[in-house]
Assembly symmetry: C2
Homo-oligomer: 222 residues x 2
Amino acid sequence: MLNYRVDDLSDDALAREREVQGGLAASTRALIDAVIRSTVDDEEILEIRAQVDELTARLTKSQIAGPFGVSVTPGGTVRGHGNAVVGLRNAIAPPLAIRRDPAGRAEADFTLGAAYEGPPGMVHGGVTALLLDQLCGEAAAAGGSPGMTGTLSLRYLRPTPLGEVSGEAWIDRTEGIKTTVKGKLETSDGVTVECEGVFILPRWAREAMARDAAASPPPSFE
Amino acid sequence: MLNYRVDDLSDDALAREREVQGGLAASTRALIDAVIRSTVDDEEILEIRAQVDELTARLTKSQIAGPFGVSVTPGGTVRGHGNAVVGLRNAIAPPLAIRRDPAGRAEADFTLGAAYEGPPGMVHGGVTALLLDQLCGEAAAAGGSPGMTGTLSLRYLRPTPLGEVSGEAWIDRTEGIKTTVKGKLETSDGVTVECEGVFILPRWAREAMARDAAASPPPSFE
């Protein structure tokens, strides 16, 4: 069910991918923001749309058959570039640059713009859940207990304004294949959302990982 | 704290906005997918990136100062076009076309592509939380009890494969300003995620709504 490709990429190739494909995704993030906020006239929007369609046609001349998936290099570099939260090539992802601590902790500082809005001027409550899910999964993995989300409970203390946000998650306890992780988001005004999640490595995932001896366990299944 | 603009737009203007600005967002969604999956060579990617930057520059020649926010027309049409789940102009949003039932129910059928990936080939667990949060908020609002998320608890029964997904949410019970909503996502293989959320209309939101007599209560604060 899980399927990690093995891609034998050199350090140079990985760096170039970060610059070239990562750069295109970064530019696409700026485009997403502009599409939401632009007030240029309709004729101009129609022309721009036609050009976006042309660029898409050029990109799709050659492409992988399905979603990006997750690939690992023989050296152990994990490329989850399609991931909706941390994916290098995914313009939907802010993307979070997560700092990990082998003690079972994950942290990130990031800026959320117009594309993450829910209530006027505020981060969508579901977006905060999305980011916390990833942070919790990465904390579990950093601590040596990678897993998929089993349960996730969120408590919203106050709205999170769009802008600079910090997130962190840490392993609270581990019992066999079940890891309980806690997390929170905060802004300069204090904590806005708290969560607790249980991350589990299901049997099919353990079996898939055992089958694929070439692949190191990925840092997160999120 | 909440701030709803009032925009006096005719039905014709609303229809044209749906076609023109909505069309540009739809094309941008296709671009996001192509950016993740393209295997064209680096020179071509660099050229395409430069053109994306040019289009962004054209769009930002004239734009609103901050995020889109939520606007209402005097006729009561709510325009949450920046919303991360349902926003017409937000390329991050699938977007969900939510059917509402005044009995306090919200449903949507949608397709999730490469941009919503978490584990290989599967919907990111946090994306399912994002979509369910919106559906639950809309169910509460449809039933006459709009609110912001107070708590949200998710139970993951099995991974959700990328592709066609259906979601629904319904009011379980209402006590004063607290509305408890249940929801689920399912694919052709059955239910993948269940949730329960408590939605609350906080005092500052009630006061803001009372102050702005021109604005109808929006259908959702998500």
